[in-house]
């Protein structure tokens, strides 16, 4: 079964945009679980090789990791994160995203596809103004928290569609690390109430991306 682009994109975008913008404002609205919903069709059965949809999701994942690398690098260049512990943590997270990018591109190349090294332009369009607007360490940390949240949610969404077990395993072993980074950014550095990191027992699996983020 091929992934329907309209199904992938339905309902996405607004939540990410709102979160990214709110990350750099002093009045931060809380994300509402279920604020956007994507009605998922039944996931496809496991197939022997990657489908066109699998490759689309992998390309998109690589572009999101490239974006994360770029955002962390721009955050470092902005020199707003000055607390040594926060600096060490964000440097570690940058190295994780570099490893993720390499791993997802290895999957693409093993499937005979070209590697993706350019940041996802559609999502970058959302984060760029927020990066420019950030004036304090707290605002930058909130932005990185939002980034980890959005990419992690995309992988949970993707797992329901990927037909090749090694691909879904790879994305979920990455999603777990995004979740850990999100937790540390939220609790240790942004001083969120730990309970607020758990709006529900289950992670959201609707698509958080803007409409043109999918790399077909």
């Amino acid at each position: 079964m091929e992934l329907d682009r309209r199904q992938f994109l339905h309902g996405g975008g607004g939540a990410l945009l709102a979160l990214a913008i709110s990350a750099c404002t002093s009045d931060k609205p809380k994300a509402q679980p279920g604020a956007t919903t994507t009605t998922l069709p039944p996931p496809p059965p496991t197939a022997p090789g990657p489908t066109a949809s699998d490759l689309t999701l992998l390309r998109t994942a690589a572009s999101l990791e490239a974006l994360a690398v770029s955002v962390y690098q721009r955050a470092a260049a902005a020199n707003l994160v000055k607390d040594p512990a926060a600096l060490d943590a964000t440097t570690l997270f940058l190295s994780h995203h570099m490893a993720h990018l390499q791993a997802v591109n290895a999957l693409l190349e093993a499937s005979g596809q070209a590697a993706v090294t350019t940041p996802n332009a559609a999502v970058d369009k959302v984060f760029k103004p927020a990066l420019t607007a950030a004036r304090t360490q707290d605002e930058m940390i909130e932005l990185l928290f939002t980034l980890e949240d959005a990419i992690g949610q995309t992988y949970v969404y993707s797992a329901g569609y990927l037909t090749t077990p090694p691909h879904r395993t790879a994305l979920m072993t990455i999603a777990g690390v995004h979740a850990r980074a999100r937790a540390l950014l939220g609790i240790v550095f942004a001083k969120h109430d730990p309970a607020a990191l758990f709006p529900a027992s289950f992670a959201r699996n609707d698509n958080p991306l803007p409409p043109d983020a999918l790399l077909t």
């Binding site: 949970v156 979740a179 609790i187 027992s201 289950f202 959201r204």
Partner: protein, 176 residues
């Protein structure tokens, strides 16, 4: 109407359900050692595991496990005996959450059921968040919050493994 879960995947769901019930039992031992604010959070996490057990039980069908995993229960009981204060309680239960993450990672490489894949995908990141949250409350150094570096592991092992971050091997922790 969801597709029926194939028997091997239903058995896997039943195994995970038994592991979740055992984790709930582990929280019962940890909670008395926690401060009031951390106890509230621990109780919330325990509730998550109850929700996972319930959801997995629905997919397990006839393979549902309405009881703890006896082998794992013995292993955790022995391990949790050494807890003496809040920090040791937090690090002990964080280690269990890390092992759960690995167990769920392993499931992705073995299951073919779309419904189980979809369910497990919504659980694994929350388990990772549990582990990181508990570790940060125990003031564990940042790098140690990522026991397997940039990727979660999918390695599972038996009772006598030396690999502290490995998950629970269904073959070594049978659903009795």
């Amino acid at each position: 109407m969801p597709d029926p879960v194939a028997p091997p995947d239903a058995a896997l769901a039943g195994f995970l359900q038994s592991v979740e019930r055992t984790t709930m039992e582990a929280y019962d031992k940890v909670l008395p050692l926690l401060s009031e604010s951390n106890k509230a959070l621990g109780t919330k996490f325990q509730g998550h595991h109850r929700d996972y057990a319930d959801a997995l039980g629905k997919l397990a069908g006839a393979s549902a496990a309405d009881h703890t995993n006896k082998t794992l229960s013995l292993v955790l009981a022995a391990r949790l005996q050494s807890m003496s204060d809040e920090r040791s309680a937090l690090t002990s239960i964080a280690a269990v959450e890390n092992e759960l993450v690995a167990t769920y990672g392993f499931v992705f490489s073995t299951t073919a059921s779309p419904d189980l894949v979809k369910l497990v995908a919504t659980i694994l990141p929350v388990l990772s968040t549990h582990a990181a949250t508990l570790a940060s409350l125990a003031s564990v150094p940042t790098a140690a919050v990522f026991p397997n570096g940039a990727f979660e592991t999918t390695t599972v092992a038996g009772v006598d493994t030396a690999d502290a971050s490995a998950g629970f091997d269904p073959a070594a922790f049978p659903v009795a």
